[in-house]
């Protein structure tokens, strides 16, 4: 009997199979994810994701009998009162619930499994990228990351690469014929025994000749051994790193939302989901992402997430107040030289008529120049089709922002009518554009 400890063996033997499985269920997974993100909090991104998918693409069919028809007999244990010929009422759900069904009907209606966080995000943000990453790269000389770049023949001791070094050493020793200690030992041993008279040379020569010969050879080997060192400075190899400039790896995301009475809970929910997606997406690209929540009615304030989504507040609507508040926060805490700034604004599009122009101006003059990207989503469950109440199907704010979205690359606006729109709209906003590269 042998005992072998396999615990140190690499785990994740099934990683390949798992990836195959995930890629096979990609479409279904993406649908399930869209469903899943409806239920999440904005900043909850740490956990893996439990996703339920239908088994269509992963079902493994086999010939099996239909358990609802035909005659079969079963042998069961635990009879208490039955006699031969007794009749027992069929349980309401039909005959399929006995031993047979549970053995081979695997109960494969839906398939629940947990994705790792990376798998989750990979799927979620497939073919999406951040627009306009280029601009800040130039400004961020201080953020450089070391990156492996081959090997060097010199360097600090702590970067000595043992494997490489020993490989060169081995090759050199082999090439120069450095005698092995065993070879020397063998000669020494023979010499000793010859001198002690234990053995005689095999070819019948006198022992002295052989001794002289061996001594000379031993001398030669020893000399050679001292000349060819075990490790030569020539062998040394060091890991080499290059400093590659990185774009600033931190971002702040401003969530601006109108919380005036015209935004009802349903609309807020829609906005929340959008913000959450954006947060996840940014987290994927930056080492750290800060989120700043600014809500506004006729005046704006920075609040925490819970208040942002659930707090009650009434008042009029002055959108520019939020924009000003945002600028104030940037000024105070997020110097543009070291932060990438993203803005997402959600509103139902209502604004005091005189304020719209002011907003557009603020955006053009102050906000857009310092932000990486700004997205404006108009939450509009009725899609502005509420008959004749509003004269056109465009909101005040939409009309005011529209020219901006034409002239500025880093500003986009979309409408969201129902939860199903969010992901497509998001996808649309961030899909990879050939033009940016």
């Amino acid at each position: 009997m042998r005992i072998i400890d396999r615990r140190q063996n690499p785990k994740g033997k099934n990683l390949g199979n798992r990836q195959r499985f995930v890629s096979r269920t990609r479409t279904q997974l993406r649908e399930a994810l869209a469903e899943n993100i409806r239920r999440r909090s904005v900043s909850d991104t740490s956990s893996g994701e439990t996703v339920t998918i239908p088994t269509d693409g992963t079902h493994e069919p086999e010939f099996k009998r239909d358990h609802s028809i035909g005659q079969r007999s079963r042998v069961l244990p635990g009879n208490k009162e039955f006699r031969e010929g007794d009749q027992i009422r069929r349980p309401p759900q039909g005959g399929g619930s006995g031993s047979n069904a549970s053995e081979d009907g695997e109960g494969e209606d839906d398939f629940v499994f947990t994705l790792s966080r990376d798998e989750f995000l990979d799927l979620l943000f497939e073919d999406l990228r951040l627009p306009d990453m280029v601009k800040r790269e130039l400004k961020s000389e201080e953020a450089a990351k070391p990156k492996r770049a081959g090997y060097a023949t010199s360097g600090p001791q702590n970067r000595l690469n043992m494997v490489r070094t020993m490989r060169y050493s081995l090759a050199r020793r082999a090439a120069l014929g450095r005698p092995k200690p065993a070879a020397i030992e063998e000669i020494e041993r023979e010499l000793e025994r010859l001198q002690a008279g234990e053995i005689q040379p095999a070819d019948g020569r006198p022992a002295e000749t052989r001794i002289a010969e061996l001594k000379e050879r031993l001398e030669h080997l020893k000399r050679k051994r001292s000349k060819v060192p075990y490790i030569d400075p020539y062998d040394l190899r060091y890991n080499r790193f290059e400093h590659v400039p990185q774009p600033i790896a931190q971002a702040v995301m401003f969530c601006l939302m109108d919380v005036s009475a015209s935004m009802n809970q349903e609309m807020k929910e829609l906005a929340k989901r959008f913000f959450m997606l954006l947060h996840l997406f940014l987290q994927r690209h930056y080492d750290s992402v800060h989120v700043v929540f600014i809500r506004h009615t006729n005046f704006a304030s920075e609040v925490d997430e819970d208040t942002f989504f659930h707090g009650q507040q009434t008042g009029g609507t002055i959108v520019s107040s939020a924009l000003k508040e945002m600028l104030r926060v940037v000024e105070e805490r997020y110097p543009t030289s070291s932060w990438n700034i993203y803005v997402a604004q959600a509103s139902d599009g209502d604004d005091v008529p005189g304020d719209v122009k002011h907003c557009a101006e603020l955006l053009r003059e102050h906000i857009l120049p310092i932000t990486q990207y700004m997205a404006y989503v108009e939450i509009d469950p009725g899609q502005r089709l509420r008959t004749g109440f509003v004269d056109s199907d465009e909101s005040d704010l939409w009309r005011g922002y529209e020219p901006l979205s034409q002239e500025q690359d880093n500003f986009t606006m979309r409408r969201i009518g129902e939860p199903g729109d969010i992901y497509p709209v998001f996808h649309d906003l961030f899909r990879q554009r050939e033009t940016t590269s």
């Binding site: 009997m1 072998i4 079969r72 007999s73 031969e84 010929g85």
Partner: protein, 551 residues
Amino acid sequence: MSADKPNTGAHGGGKKGGQAKRRTKTQTKKTGAAKAGAPAPKKSGQLLFEGADWNFDTIQRTYDAIEEIAQGELGLDLYPTRLEVITAEQMLDAYASVGMPVMYSHWSFGKRFAQQETLYRKGLQSLALEIVINANPSLCYIMEENTMATQATVIAHAAMGHNHFFKHNQTFKRWTDADSILEDLRYARRLVAECEEYHGQQAVERILDAAHALSAQGVDRDRRGDRPDLAAERRRRAQQRHAEREATDDLWLRTVPKPSGGQVREPEDEQLEAQRRALGLPEENLLYFLEAHAPLLENWQRDLLQMVRELAAYFEPQRQTKMMNEGCATWTHYQIMNRLRDKGQIDEGAMLEFLHLHAHVIAQPNFDDRGFSGMNPYALGFAMMQDIERICTEPTDEDKAWFPQIAGNGKPYQTLREAWAEFRDESFILQYLSPRLIRDLRLFKLRDDSAEDNYVVEAIHDDAGYKRLRRALSEAHDPVAAQPRIEVTEANLRGDRKLYLEHRVQDRRQLDAMETRRVLRHIAFLWGYDVQLSEVDADTGERIAVHNPKD
């Protein structure tokens, strides 16, 4: 602890017992000296281990003691064993690849892994304590989380019980080759990897998906499993190729003198007949049929089909002997643990833990209990082994009437060993299920007919019922009967090349239409042309239903 702890123990079967004994002795002495001051154990032996923790020494020591009992007292004959300690995660990995240490890549294993992982992480299911592989040397995986008492049970169960069963049971001997299974699996993995490299992952998956769907139909049941002999296989293929040529060669058909003398047959009939003969129809091994005769498959695709078919054959004996195999292993661990206790080699704590585990394993809920999910093979198997032992040693008059060959023969172990070697679940029940056990389990037989409103109790544990119950239980343990019987009945190789399958319907038990259609799509893909499956009543010959892949 070192990562790999080779052991000096001999691997040759013969020397093993002696060496093991010697080592045990010296080690017991050592433990004895070390614990001189401890209170004297009740019996003569020394404790093999104490407490829950284990290390490689305690496992080695325990293994040797267990092996001594298994070989010396129970008369088991074993393949050499390799114990491999693995983590829970590795156990999950092993689950996913149907318990095998090596497996080819396929998404379905990933799916199984994801399923198991979810169940495990949610705490809905605990992991198996061990997996044992029918190979020579026998591979036995034990989990690091197990306590020492559990490890001892697991060793007695798998490394002794299953091991002996694998080595001696006829079904295993005929169907599988313990010497080559690992090599076969490595071949499978290599083959799949190579094919993927040349033909792309998708193309390979397509074939494997289809082959997996048919793997239950890839076993030669009627031949009752002669082990697939590669040379014979090659001969069979050559013959098939030859026959195929004959069948499709017009010239040959016209020039060779016809065997039928007086009767003049239509040439078309003649041709069809020749074709059927060449194709070996009717053929129930669908996978083999497609591998040999599907007109459009390329060689690598046929190789993949063959590989899946051979692996299916490897698992077949496990299906056919599940209950006996578990019964044998459970009986063995029960015997061994009790004997270890009697010798004072394990303490009461370990024994209690063992009994708890054992009770859990052999629990058989009644049909109306919440946890009921059919007959528990461990429970039935263990009960039958115990019962046979009882019949051999303390038979009642009833036993003497029912089992004159073995009742009171006083050789329970030999009787059991013979039974383990010669039977499959189905025949084992037919041979050995006693009225006493039927009464103990209070078995009854229920008729479930979709045409009737009620279930009908057909037999209970009384004189009139014993034989009927025995037969019914035996049938329920026959995987061949449980599987719908589907045959290739006709394949038109010249016209539209349509393939005709037939399901012989017993007791109006038809196929699940949706599933059938899905499988037919796989068959149609492999065959390359249209496929049709008819369901025919086995008694009347009436055609009940027709399935097409495109419905």
